[in-house]
């Protein structure tokens, strides 16, 4: 009886000691809240949890708490709400274009400071494609975020139909595009599908980049929307439906684009590289991919140009220095060539580092499906995705204007562009 009591006492004592000692011993360990948007059909949560487990093997003191937060917009709203109250993630994937508004809110910290204190930091940054870094810096060129799940729009075409119609090469400029689309249009099939609902600004930027008239100034403080590039681009899109009749009228669906293309109801499609994996697996014909040809023919006969898109990794100001340091480790891990290559192979985003394309994973992928290389190579012609101060507001103004014109709701294009430009100017003047 006595011994049993003693045993109980001793066990309790040990438990108590452990309880006191354990937190002290565990003080080194850090748990990071990692928020990500856009689940993807390939179970992004599951993939991130795999990565987190791999990461924790190498960093036993860091635990990653993987948290899905809805769409990019939901994710941003949640992060703003939580950080305003002193909560929020330690590290997150957010749109690269959200950068300036988060800087103004004081929510994020520049990753430049971590790069500077990391051995080989400069080489690490130099390994990223320049096109992706354009949206990762502020107006002074300071680096704030690291490219992670990046994309760019490309032209998908039905190669079988191309050979039937005797078209030998993918269109390289806007006139060739019209010619090809006209040749490919048939009963029950449109020549081209250019999605214009929801977020038309992204694809539309291709007109500005290819036309060499940037939509935004270097320091993000001026926006040039009321320009001939915009007016011509809009007229070009309207003509595709109304004059050339190679595309249905009205705002065309983004989400249904891949299905419409893969089921043969459109011969060409403008869509993100993020759909490549899906389209290749669904289409019963040979799929070709090409650079976006929305510019007028230049000296070499091409009119290429496209924006980049997608999400970057951000580190947050509410976190302690230890958490930030751990978050930086996680960011480096996620942007390592191996993980970038794996992420590309499993989701269709473009690996943001050149060295990732030298890995076995991606060399094998490109050898098997050369379509993937097109997205990478187009980066040479890519400009930055639209961002500016008051980015969300200006995007809303531009999206509404483009969408109204393309859907045929507004017919006086010069007046619409002028009104939009005036709103944008007063936003930037605030």
């Amino acid at each position: 009886m006595f011994s049993r009591r003693l045993a109980f006492f001793l066990v309790s004592l040990i438990a108590l000691l452990l309880a006191v000692v354990a937190p002290a011993a565990a003080q080194e360990s850090v748990t990071l809240d990692f928020y990500f948007p856009e689940a993807t059909a390939n179970n992004a949560q599951g993939i991130f949890e795999e990565y987190a487990a791999q990461f924790s093997e190498a960093h036993p003191n860091i635990t990653i708490n993987v948290v899905y937060q809805g769409s990019y917009t939901d994710n941003r709203t949640i992060i703003q709400t939580q950080t305003a109250a002193g909560e929020g993630p330690d590290v997150a994937v957010m749109l690269s274009t959200d950068l300036l508004s988060f800087i103004e809110a004081g929510t994020v910290v520049p990753v430049q400071q971590f790069v500077d204190s990391t051995e080989g930091g400069a080489d690490y940054v130099a390994d990223f494609f320049d096109a992706f870094l354009l949206n990762s810096v502020d107006e002074n060129g300071q680096l704030w975020s690291i490219p992670f799940q990046r994309s760019t729009p490309i032209l998908y075409y039905n190669a079988d139909l191309f050979s039937e119609a005797g078209i030998e090469a993918a269109p390289a400029n806007r006139d060739e595009l019209v010619a090809a689309a006209t040749a490919l249009t048939a009963e029950g099939r449109s020549g081209l599908w250019f999605p214009s609902e929801g977020f038309p600004i992204w694809l539309f930027t291709a007109f500005q980049i290819a036309g060499g008239e940037p939509l935004v100034a270097e320091r993000f403080d001026q926006v040039f929307f009321n320009t001939t590039a915009t007016a011509e681009g809009l007229q070009y899109l309207l003509d595709l439906s109304k004059v050339h009749q190679v595309m249905p009228e009205g705002a065309l669906s983004w989400g249904d684009g891949p299905t419409i293309f893969a089921s043969g109801q459109a011969a060409m499609l403008v869509h993100t590289t993020g759909s490549l994996t899906r389209i290749l697996s669904e289409a019963p014909f040979e799929v070709g991919t090409a650079f976006l040809p929305f510019g007028p023919a230049g000296e070499d006969g091409t009119g290429y140009g496209a924006p980049t898109g997608g999400g970057n990794l951000y580190i947050f100001a509410n976190s302690s220095p230890e958490e930030q340091a751990a978050a930086w480790e996680w960011v480096q891990f996620l942007s390592s060539p191996e993980i970038q290559a794996d992420w590309t192979a499993r989701t269709g985003y473009i690996a943001a580092r050149e060295s990732a394309w030298a890995t076995d994973t991606l060399t094998a992928l490109v050898a098997e499906k050369p379509q993937y290389a097109v997205a990478r190579d187009q980066l040479a012609f890519a400009g930055k995705e639209f961002t500016a101060f008051r980015s969300i507001d200006i995007q809303n103004v531009i999206n509404t204007t483009l969408s109204s014109v393309i859907a045929g709701d507004v017919t006086d294009i010069p007046a619409a562009l002028e009104a939009a430009q005036a709103q944008i100017d007063s936003l930037l003047a605030e």
Partner: protein
């Protein structure tokens, strides 16, 4: 006694045949989306409805279900959604009964003002007060708990209004009779008011359950663990595939997974719902 009702029912029968046809047609239209949701969920992921037979496509598969099932910890989400809606409703039933009775049958200083203040909840969508409400949850130390999702709904202006209305239709004589028999307030509520308001409780219960079953942004803001989050998070994972475009078959499989349990519950209990409607109607 026999002759007259028969003549009435014969008079009704032609009309009711027509009414039956109209009912079935209308319900048929209403059910069409469900039918196609179910059918689509068995199509191959890549196959649009325009391909093959409109009903069954070219081939049937359960692939969408296996993929949808892998994307989220569904059992956890089911459990959390049930905790969320049941926990919300259980507390609501108590609070709206008390408040409904007070506003319906008691006179006290400031009653109308207090009622109007409570009703403000109907007018201000909770979604837009996100920032302040998140701060409150955090100050209460409830971040990432089931209670955080439920607590803003534990007082319901809608339910209070419904119950106040229902209680006012209860003849006051019934309460007076019970009081004379020495019943306490709790007994009066339990034996007089609550039984007579059962249809109202059911109507309120249905909207409470279905609207919280719906809730997405608020749970997302106040939680971050999969072990706490409700089903809408799972269905959103299937919807948020914007980069790949819409995958309807997969999405429909997810929709079926979400709607099935609630539908089964409704099917089982609907007879009881109706009986309680009927029994209270007779009284």
């Amino acid at each position: 006694m026999n002759a007259k009702p028969r003549s009435i029912s014969r008079h009704f029968s032609w009309g009711s045949v027509l009414a039956n046809v109209v009912t079935i047609l209308a319900a048929g239209i209403w059910l069409t989306p469900l039918l196609f949701t179910a059918l689509m969920s068995f199509r191959p992921p890549a196959e649009p409805v325009t391909q093959g037979n409109i009903f069954v496509g070219t081939i049937l598969t359960t692939e969408n279900y296996t993929r949808a099932w892998e994307i989220a910890p569904w059992p956890d989400h089911y459990r959390n959604s049930i905790i969320f809606v049941v926990g919300t409703l259980a507390v609501q039933l108590v609070t709206v009964t008390l408040a409904g009775y007070a506003f319906a049958r008691m006179t006290f200083f400031g009653r109308d003002l207090l009622l109007i203040l409570v009703l403000l909840q109907l007018m201000i969508p909770p979604g837009v007060l996100l920032a302040q409400n998140f701060a409150t949850i955090r100050d209460l130390g409830l971040f990432d708990t089931h209670v955080a999702m439920m607590i803003p709904y534990w007082g319901s202006a809608f339910g209070t209004l419904l119950l106040r209305q229902a209680f006012r239709e209860v003849p006051i004589e019934l309460e007076e009779a019970a009081r004379i028999d020495g019943a306490t307030l709790v007994q009066v509520l339990r034996h007089v008011y609550v039984p007579l308001a059962v249809p109202t409780y059911i109507a309120f219960g249905v909207v409470s359950v279905s609207s919280h079953w719906n809730e997405f942004l608020w749970p997302l803001v106040v939680t971050q663990s999969e072990s706490v989050r409700p089903l809408t998070v799972a269905i959103n994972k299937l919807i948020r595939t914007a980069d790949q475009g819409s995958l309807y078959s997969l999405l429909m499989a997810g929709t079926v997974l979400v709607i099935a349990p609630l539908s089964i519950v409704f099917m089982i209990f609907q007879r009881r719902f109706v009986e309680s409607f009927a029994s209270s109607g007779v009284k």
